[in-house]
């Protein structure tokens, strides 16, 4: 659909959230939780952390929760009875106050879960999520969205995008049919915007630090470059924090939990950085050392996904670098691949 532009007053944001909630839409938004900023359900604007550049956790849990029930069963003398778990059992939800890199991060997850037999647990939640992102007025040294095809005002993946255009006013871009539907809920708070308004004046300037096509080509050619992966991963302790904060990481595990009579099978986030991830029962491990696991992380995002799913598995949000306890920085590692590798 053709984009529509409106103006919303900052002072009307609390009313907007109230309207969503009173009309039965749960609202997920960034919330301060001690030292970190989580994505959680909120009841009013007060609890929403609009003052931070980025939440610690990405927004992926709106459609891909950290823990999710995929099976439920009871056991009796006659055997096992499965109680069907409906993957589509979720509510239409507003995901509010996330950044453009969060919104566009869903395209990687869409590709992974939508490819082949589709994962309706993810797809139906994603379908029912309306994403209201805020463009970024500032960025920090970890951000590199513009190097991976995004940007601080990128609207890809967002249904509505808000941009702060003065201290009192937000520019509202209505981008999709879902966004249009959500905007009707607070239509009385919207006024017409001047169509000549230049959004770029109000967003951060994020410098491009590398040429993506070149990084993809060089990464693709680097499987056998053991020295490169070793050098890049010497510090890596395999904690998996990078994967857990990443908006595009989709690897998962299943675990059963049960008492004597009933049980559930849970799907949980996992990480290719963990040493047990690929360990065979025999003791053999195809990715035995951390450098091979680092290679997997980078190659999956910058070689395998671009080739097979036509999407780069990185949004340049820099969360992995901010979360890394040993200060590994993906922007620097990718720049090094760009500079050191010759193809």
């Amino acid at each position: 659909m053709e984009k529509e532009l409106k103006i919303l007053k900052y002072s009307d944001l609390p009313k907007m959230i109230e309207k969503f909630i009173s009309q039965g839409y749960p609202v997920l938004a960034p919330v301060h939780k001690g030292k970190i900023v989580e994505i959680e359900y909120v009841q009013s604007l007060d609890s929403i952390a609009l003052d931070v550049l980025l939440s610690t956790q990405s927004a992926k849990k709106a459609a891909f929760p950290k823990v999710e029930k995929v099976l439920e069963y009871t056991m009796n003398k006659a055997g096992v009875v499965q109680h069907p778990v409906d993957p589509a059992d979720s509510k239409e939800t507003i995901l509010f106050g996330v950044r453009p890199c969060d919104a566009s991060g869903f395209k990687s997850l869409d590709a992974i879960f939508g490819e082949g037999p589709s994962d309706q647990f993810y797809l139906s939640k994603k379908e029912k999520t309306t994403i209201i992102s805020f463009s970024c007025p500032v960025a920090d040294e970890y951000c590199f969205c513009t190097s991976v095809g995004g940007g601080p005002g990128n609207t890809a993946g967002s249904d509505l995008q808000f941009t702060s255009v003065s201290k009192d006013e937000l520019l509202v871009e209505i981008l999709t049919e879902k966004g249009k539907k959500a905007s009707r809920i607070f239509a009385d708070l919207l006024t017409e915007a001047n169509s000549a308004i230049d959004k770029t004046k109000f967003i951060a300037d994020v410098k491009v630090v590398f040429d993506l096509d070149s990084v993809v080509a060089k990464t693709t050619a680097s499987f056998g470059n053991a020295e490169l992966w070793l050098e890049q991963s010497l510090r890596c302790i395999g904690c998996g924090a990078c994967a857990f904060v990443c908006p595009t990481c989709a690897c998962f595990d299943f675990q059963d939990e049960q008492d004597t009579k009933k049980g559930v099978r849970l799907r949980l986030w996992d990480s290719c950085g963990f040493s047990l991830f690929t360990l065979h029962t025999s003791g053999h491990n195809p990715r035995e050392v951390q450098s091979q696991r680092w290679r997997q992380r980078i190659m999956h995002k910058f070689a395998y996904m671009p080739e097979q799913l036509k999407v780069v598995g990185c949004e340049g949000c820099g969360r992995c670098s901010r979360a890394c306890p040993v200060d590994m920085n993906i922007k620097e590692h990718l720049t090094a691949i760009r500079e050191q590798v010759t193809v």
Binding site: V70, M75, G79, Q82, F121, F254, T278
Partner: protein, 279 residues
Amino acid sequence: MEQQNIYQPYLMEIEKITEEAPMVKTFRLKFTNEEEGNKFSFRTGQFGEYSVFGEGEVTFCVASPHTRKGYIECTFRQAGRVTAELASLSEGDTIGFRGPYGNIFPIDDWKGKNLLFIAGGIALPPMRSVIWSCLDLRDQFKDISILYGARTVEDLVYKNELAEWKERPDVHLVTTVDPGGETPDWSGEVGFVPTILDKMIPVSENTIAIVCGPPVMIKFTFPVLEKYGFKDEQVYTTLENRMKCGLGKCGRCNVGKVFVCKDGPVFTRTQLKELPDEY
């Protein structure tokens, strides 16, 4: 409308348990829901996720042939947490099965050819599915030879079926055990699989070789096949890597860009040579 849950298994009743070798059992599984069983079909080479409710899932091939309907079989060695639970179950108990997943051995393309099966240890089960699928369509193929080796006589699986193949005039079976693994009454060969293969002087002309076994066996078997003129596209194998979903999503079984679960598990040696060393 309720959407399909791709992670929900079929319920299967354990109809029959066969002790194959120390710690190795075969389960014959019947669909609890007859209608699901009637709709179900698979092709030889495919695998599935077998679940023990409360413990989790484990990945094995379907060890029975696709030519036989109404049940599937799996053969497994008790080695980890889930297989230990599986091994403790009895006939009549219920387990789960998701599948079939993955690609197939293209036996339709092998019509009119000689087939040479080479298997080691617990890798006979995936091969047994192909062997019976081909034997059930015996007139479509020319000579069928099977070379099977295990560490000891006791470790040979499917002992009854080996005896049956031995008796059949239309099957050439050679069994072998590693040096030191033989018993006084052992009448088969003694020696490692590649050595015995060399003694068999295999004919590569119009032959497909299917190789499945531990990595070290495969490593030393390929050169022998090469020596007798087998081209890479005449040689098939099946890979395994740790898996959770079986559907190309959970992210752990990939060998480079190739997912063993959906691009494999069956590969020709030509394809195998293109894969990086990650399996």
